[in-house]
């Protein structure tokens, strides 16, 4: 990764996504005395995904707090504590549980600063787990990012790599606004370079992972890796694809997207969420508004079908977007 500061005599350190999350939380709890981590099973159990493992032992029960299974309560805790001098890190175990606390998120957290005429400041970070692929079925596998990106007042980031997971968590916790960090459960074992110590990944800045000439693939979260694979496969069809990892959905790095599309003249957007009314609709609209004259083909979108996430592995595999489908959709759009 470009941002990694590596010593010349040292091989880059590799870390799994899950451990990168832990390191990010560790750095924040170390540097911010007013930060605490609260959520279901984050203390004693180290979280059901393992990413808060060891934090209780190091920071104690005052800083790492198990909560009841009460998402309204947990999210309200984050809002009230943030408004009164703390820097809460709230763990919402599965993104699907947003429905249990949407008032606290949408009507309170997102709007308090504005409604109060700028007199409130809410430095609260929410970690939550998204994505399918583990046969957890319809209520534990969703990608509901547009529920959040539609809300002015929130920032929403979705790290695809271990490096970004750690850096975005640190940036989120240093931000004085509510930030949702959307993690991905199928990426937990993914290995990647992660520097030691604290570093930030700028919120609102996309990452051009691969440069290309005649197609821009725009993705975020785990779909970034599928897009990279698709880019490799598209070479044999004469397509030299650029791949953009958005990293941040709100604020959105529109400049990087538009600059790329003006160069490549074609764009395909990839996300795991249901395609209909998905974030890709917003991206496609912005591209046509800002780069219409540069487009040589309709803007494509690859996403999940209009269906709940299924349970059976065979159904789930057919539900989730992948490199093969990105290649197929690109070829269809470009007629190659």
């Amino acid at each position: 990764m470009a941002e990694a500061q590596l010593k010349d005599d040292q091989a880059p350190r590799k870390l799994a996504y899950v451990n990168a999350i832990t390191e990010g939380l560790h750095e924040v709890l170390k540097e911010q005395p007013e930060a605490f981590l609260a959520g279901e099973d984050v203390a004693g159990a180290g979280s059901v995904f393992g990413y808060t493992s060891g934090l209780l032992a190091e920071f104690g029960e005052h800083r790492v707090i198990d909560t009841p299974i009460s998402e309204k309560g947990i999210m309200g805790l984050g809002v009230g504590a943030a408004a009164t001098g703390c820097r809460p890190i709230i763990d919402l175990m599965f993104m699907d549980f947003l429905g249990e606390c949407m008032d606290e998120v949408a009507n309170q957290m997102a709007k308090m600063r504005y409604m109060f005429g700028g007199h409130a400041r809410l430095p609260v970070t929410v970690l939550t787990m998204s994505g399918a692929g583990m046969s957890l079925a319809a209520q534990h596998s969703q990608s509901l990012e547009v529920w959040l990106t539609h809300l002015p007042g929130l920032k929403v980031v979705a790290p695809a790599t271990p490096y970004d997971a750690k850096g975005l968590i640190i940036s989120a916790c240093r931000d004085d606004n509510p930030v949702f960090v959307l993690l991905n459960k199928l990426s937990l074992a993914l290995q990647g370079e992660v520097p030691e110590g604290a570093y930030e990944v700028e919120i609102g800045k996309a990452n051009v992972l691969r440069e290309g000439k005649n197609l821009t693939l725009i993705a975020y979260s785990r779909m970034v890796h599928e897009a990279m694979q698709a880019a490799d496969q598209l070479k044999e069809f004469g397509i030299d694809a650029e791949v953009i990892d958005l990293r941040s959905l709100s604020p959105l790095d529109t400049d990087t997207i538009v600059k790329s599309v003006k160069k490549t003249h074609r764009a395909v957007i990839v996300h795991e969420a249901v395609r209909f009314s998905g974030f890709g609709g917003e991206l496609a609209a912005q591209i046509q508004e800002l780069a219409f004259d540069y487009l040589d083909a309709p803007v494509g979108r690859v996403g999940a079908p209009f269906s709940p996430v299924p349970y059976s592995p065979s159904l789930e595999q057919s539900y989730m977007p992948n490199a093969k489908r990105i290649v197929a959709e690109t070829r269809r759009l470009l007629g190659v």
């Binding site: 703390c86 109060f116 007199h119 606004n177």
Partner: protein
């Protein structure tokens, strides 16, 4: 141990109640005369609750409120100029015209906002109480809400967590007998909301919400418990709103009788307290009239201030959506 109200405290509570009453009477007129935009939910009749509780709180203690929130702001120390300006949607308002009646707040005096969502403030107050304990202060948080809100999940989750973590929180249920237009016996099977406290392992206390002294004494115990690290209390104050759910006459829906309203008005909390002040020689009719006049004059001047002050600059529409480093 009951904290007795001194003469000075009783006069202070009385002044807070008169301030609420007059603020609301004038606000009601402004709404009914079409002078202010939006909907106002007025607090007239329930003044003893806000005043009796707030007499124990400092600026560093935080409260959350309801859609019927003006009374809580006034009792916490909110100033008429900024309050009326906010109702008018003016730039000089507490929320710079971005919030209005249902989101009126003042962070400087620990007022974390009225709240347009029934039950919305309760988890936030619990979070503020958590913050106070986390930061090892002696401060407390109080959440005001109605009988209607006690049926929201947010109440139950916050109550459970407050008791679990022994947070310095006072849950003040203003049971005015109605969830919007639905009578209490038509929205819950219990008579005393305070009964719900037992289910969470905290004391539940019922008090006459028209008796400011009774509210002050009961709130004193709850606040002392909170400051001493003994955890939350659910304090239910039986009260009544004299005006409609919204505005003064409201939409004219027939959901209660004039006889019922009149019966409660005979127990007007301000009148009850004034009778005591006079009877006990703490004040006189003349002094009380002077308080009313002084507050009325202040309200009229504040309304003039609000009317004369400018609307927010439309170019500033997007300010304050996010905090941005200077």
């Amino acid at each position: 141990m009951t904290i007795q109200a001194t003469d000075a405290v009783l006069l202070d509570i009385h002044e807070r109640m008169v301030r609420i009453r007059i603020f609301e009477e004038e606000a009601g007129k402004l709404m009914e005369n079409g002078k202010v935009p939006g909907a106002l939910h007025l607090y007239v009749g329930q003044e003893a609750v806000a005043a009796g509780v707030m007499a124990h709180l400092k600026d560093t203690d935080h409260i959350t409120s309801t859609h019927r929130g003006h009374g809580h702001v006034v009792a916490k120390g909110g100033q008429f100029n900024e309050m009326y300006a906010e109702l008018y949607g003016k730039a000089a308002g507490y929320c710079k015209g971005r919030g209005g009646s249902m989101h009126i707040c003042n962070m400087e005096i620990g007022m974390l906002g009225a709240n347009g969502i029934v039950g919305g403030g309760i988890p936030i107050a619990m979070g503020a109480a958590f913050s106070k304990k986390f930061r090892k202060t002696k401060e407390v948080a109080a959440s005001f809400f109605g009988d209607g809100a006690s049926n929201e999940g947010s109440f139950h989750e916050a109550a459970n967590m407050a008791a679990l973590y022994k947070l310095p929180l006072i849950l003040v249920c203003e049971n005015n007998g109605f969830g919007e237009y639905t009578r209490q016996d038509n929205h819950q099977a219990i008579v005393d909301v305070a009964d719900r406290a037992a289910g969470y392992g905290m004391p539940g206390v019922v008090v006459d919400g028209m008796d400011a002294i009774a509210v002050f004494e009961a709130a004193g115990e709850a606040v002392a418990r909170a400051r001493n690290g003994e955890g939350p209390t659910l304090l239910e104050c039986k009260t009544y709103r004299f005006y409609d759910h919204v505005g003064v006459r409201g939409m004219g829906l027939s959901y209660r009788t004039d006889e019922e309203v009149d019966a409660w008005k005979r127990r007007d909390p301000i009148k009850l307290l004034e009778e005591k002040l006079i009877e006990q020689g703490i004040s006189t009719k003349r002094k009380i009239s002077a308080v009313h006049k002084r507050v009325r004059d202040e309200a009229m001047a504040a309304i003039k201030f609000a009317e004369d002050s400018p609307l927010p600059d439309p170019d500033g529409l997007l300010e304050d959506v996010y905090y941005e480093k200077a």
